[in-house]
Amino acid sequence: MKLRVDEIASVLTEEIRGYRSEIDLAEVGRVLEVGDGIARVYGLSNALAGEQLKFENGQFGQVFNLEESSVGVVIFGDYLDIKEGDEVRRTGELLSVPCGEALVGRVVDPLGRPLDGKGVVETPHRRPLEYKAPGIAARQPVNEPLQTGLKAIDSMIPIGRGQRELIIGDRKTGRTAIAVDTIINQRGQDVVCVYVAIGQKESTVVGVIDKLTETGAMDYTIVVSASAADPAPLQYIAPYAGAAMAEYFMYTQGRATLVVYDDLSKQAHAYRQLSLLLRRPPGREAYPGDVFYLHSRLLERAVKLRDEYAVVPADAPDDATDRSLAKPHPDGVEAPPEQRPDDPAGIYHREQGRKRAEAWLGSLPDKDGLKLHKFPDSGGSMTALPLIETLEGEVSAYIPTNVISITDGQIYLEPDLFFAGVRPAVNVGISVSRVGGNAQVKAMKKIAGSLRLDLAAYRELEAFAQLGTELDKATQRQLDRGERMVELLKQPQYQPYPVEEQIVSILAGTRGHLDDVPVASVPGFEVAMLKHFRDEFPELLAELRDTGQLSDELGEKIGRVIDDFKSHFLSDDEAG
């Protein structure tokens, strides 16, 4: 292999020719002391809080503390190169990260620098690291499901797009597994995923990336990594960087995004370290006073943005985002008060707005020349799955309680369940989803409505039954049903189920079709049954998937297929 030197030389010559020298005017300060990822810089009297600074060796920093004659700076990168007396210059900018399509499929650090050896990330787009969460008016309630592909979660703790659902549990209980499965399950759903690894072992992160690549999930995923070896400042900004990268797709393209923060306990540790080094006063568990705001401002950025509609000329392209297309009616016809747009510029918001706009359009004399247009950059969402590590199941520690109170529900994982073979090890009793119910697929809602309570009742009875008392028939039946449901909800890692198959499985359990299948055979039965549906009755699955409804008729049909299959399965089982 030979390098074509001439060509490169000509490109570089051209670059030099294009160089225009300008006098460089900068505001500079001097490093007074440096260490452990922070520096105190003398001068820079006009520096703003949060401003990005540049050190002599090319590293970036951010103004954290403004003091009388110096500023406290955190350093993003190698601080061992920085010496006392080094020059530090203002950039006049806030910290920002590159974002856009070029990042998808890449592994980057929190400043957007590539870590995967695939070369520079070339993108013209940047977004500020810290961005204020949208207000009330810009949002709409969570109304679209985000399928995790896990039966135990989609049935009982449904998550909606734009929701913030905490995954909490001790170490080694499968928190990352749930998050990764959810990312894998977004294949073909037009969801951009961002996996933010904070303070993790590099080996773990490589494992996750490998799995995502193997399952094809890297095609729509960005991995942001600040590992345990990276300086605390990078670990501290990593979640904000991930959020900024997702926001690009949400705000400019109206797309759905999913961000996994793995995990926020480590970020809180990094922030505590910075704060203590900068001599901010420690509070409970030595965390600084603003550690709640650290997480609340991050998680508030998860949002379901409102849909925006307008009545526009019929020849307007479908991908038009220009809001001025919504002109006043040429003949001066005004919408009656009950059909008024939400915005004086003629924009209608959310679902009710769409109905009003439709009604107005229907009443117009020249409706053939007009149409109802949904702006494609509206209605995007960012779903956040923060992870928190507890110690010995202690959810009442400082950071877990904070994040529980910020999020819209939590999935609680327990080591006892995990080691008993119940995986995912979700404790159904104390896991909740506060808003996802509205977003759940109707068919799932119908069959899984009582699942949670039944399982909780089973857990109670189970403890009772261990005493060996005689049980009446009804109780025994409840126990048997519960045992089979627990078996049914087990699911191997990296095998998310499409929602229609989940519905069939859970229907089989809650409607008692499994009651005469031996407990040990339940997993095998489920797999075989779903294969039977895929092979022989794809139309039933398709109907479930497309309508999302479970009519009584369809439910009966599915029930009959299950029973038929069961009789074959059980006789085979006996014969075999």
Binding site: K2, V11, Y19, I23, L25, V28, G43, G119
Partner: protein, 198 residues
């Protein structure tokens, strides 16, 4: 000129402002500046004297006596009194910082501004005058040039007034071109264009 610790300057600044106020009333502001500079220079050359003045082992009364016997009559009363006050507060270690802080405060009083000029070669007088004039306009005051020669600049000038720095040196421009070439080369090589013959 020896660089003084910024933290010491902050403390010494309090004494300096008080002293400038008093000296100005007496019309001796500039004379005091010279005396302080001389005192600082004296101390810089005699570490054992500086040690004696700043050591906590020496008792305050003894130091006050020495100051009185050695300086009264040789320096103006104002300066000796100031040193006595600093002695009482245990701040005699800050004489050098006081001199520097005093100089800065007094300079501001006169409407002068420090302009640090770094050049590759020694400045000529004509150039010096022009720089002083331009820098004075830039800084908003009469410029007092603090010159430094640094051959590493290769050519051009660097001016610094307070936090603001104007860099018109050749070395910066060369560095800038180098960075841009680096960047361009990595973009080109990773950009999918073929620069290799198999």
């Amino acid at each position: 000129m020896k660089r003084v610790d910024e933290k010491e300057l902050e403390v010494a600044g309090v004494y300096a402002r008080a002293l400038v106020g008093l000296a100005d009333e007496a019309g001796e502001a500039d004379a005091v500046e010279q005396e302080l500079a001389a005192a600082a220079e004296l101390l810089a050359g005699r570490p054992e004297l500086a040690g004696f003045l700043s050591s906590p082992l020496v008792d305050e009364e003894a130091r006050a006596g020495v100051l009185h016997r050695a300086l009264r009559g040789r320096l103006s009363d104002l300066v000796v009194d100031a040193l006595q006050v600093m002695n009482r507060k245990g701040r005699l270690g800050l004489v050098a910082a006081l001199a520097e802080a005093y100089r800065r405060v007094n300079e501001t009083r006169r409407g002068e501004v420090d302009v640090h000029v770094t050049s590759a070669v020694e400045l000529s007088d004509a150039l010096r005058r022009r720089i002083a004039e331009v820098a004075g306009r830039f800084a908003g005051g009469r410029a007092r040039l603090v010159e430094r020669v640094d051959p590493e600049l290769i050519g051009g000038l660097v001016l610094q007034v307070g936090d603001r720095k104007v860099d018109a040196s050749l070395s910066r421009q060369i560095h800038e071109v180098r960075d841009r070439l680096h960047q361009r080369a990595s973009v080109e090589l990773h950009g999918g264009k073929e620069y290799f013959d198999n």
